[in-house]
């Protein structure tokens, strides 16, 4: 049993993934959800709030995937898996990635909570990696921010074509993650 609200979020996410932001029209969202073109206004204040709900759902799923990547693995390995997973997810659905980490939707408390939860899952593994000596000491939140910023930036630059594409300078986001972990002394 999916509520109309969930059907609207599904439809919006599908349209975004398939056709980019321009394809997400409330008219088409309504049509796919089997309701009229302005039924969305009974569930969301406006289009931006609908998109914020799509982003919040993506963040929730990422946080879950991040925690899964950490299970049954030594911290250093879990760390690498989480960061690689971040880049892989973005490469698989660039439009959704851009929405989720795009311009901030102030209206949504859900989004803020989901973002905090996703970050917390990552910080936990950083703490564990520091405890077993595979990451240097220091404020774990700040070290986590360093790694998240790196993987986010590498991913975003790769998507927009601002990373050298070929030749000796070529590097995937995953390569840059490995470079950073190497410089940090993670084993």
């Amino acid at each position: 049993m999916t509520s109309t609200r969930d059907a609207l979020i599904d439809a919006a996410a599908d349209l975004l993934t398939t056709g980019g932001p321009a394809a997400v029209t409330l008219r088409e969202v309504g049509r796919r959800a089997g309701v009229s073109h302005n039924a969305p206004y009974k569930h969301f204040a406006d289009k931006e709030e609908l998109l914020a709900a799509v982003a919040a759902r993506d963040l929730d799923r990422r946080a879950a995937a991040t925690r899964r990547a950490a299970r049954y693995r030594p911290p250093a390995e879990a760390l690498r898996a989480m960061l690689h997973g971040y880049a892989r997810h973005a490469a698989r659905d660039p439009e959704l990635f851009r929405l989720t980490y795009g311009s901030w939707h102030d209206g949504s408390a859900d989004l803020g909570a989901a973002a905090t939860a996703a970050r917390a899952a990552f910080v936990d593994v950083v703490v564990a990696a520091q405890a077993d000596g595979s990451l240097p000491p220091g404020d774990p939140e700040r070290l986590a921010a360093l790694m998240l910023a790196l993987v986010h930036g590498a991913t975003d630059l790769a998507l927009s074509g601002h990373l050298a594409r070929r030749g000796k300078g070529h590097a995937d986001p995953a390569d840059l993650v490995d470079d950073l972990l190497g410089h940090l002394g993670a084993r």
Copy 2:
């Protein structure tokens, strides 16, 4: 003497900076440039191409500012100044930053050339910093990519509110740049 084309680019950049992407309408761009609402089509194939021209101009200016930041300074200091300048520029004009590094405008060869030039200016300083021992050896383009990805990611996450805002985990993009340089052993 500014051509109509330059006036259109100016108007579009102004509107973007002031009111975000939604404020950039061809009608208002034309009005500010003193022409009709579809005169832009005589200079650009469509709206996207106009925005690509705005982005290319921004990249050119950044490349120039990056080279300026490197003059009369030891490499390690120049490096830090360039990276801090990157973050500062983005904080000063977030909308322009998002446009320039946002979804790729395939149509524009100018944009690709401008992006390559901006990157090259940075790589030169990395090479100099490696030569005087303030950066570790290795492929300079790849090391440059690591630093650019970090400052880009930190900046983008800060703009979208995905970086911890307060408390012990708080870190500016500039702080994360310094952290990375510290881990790389830059003096």
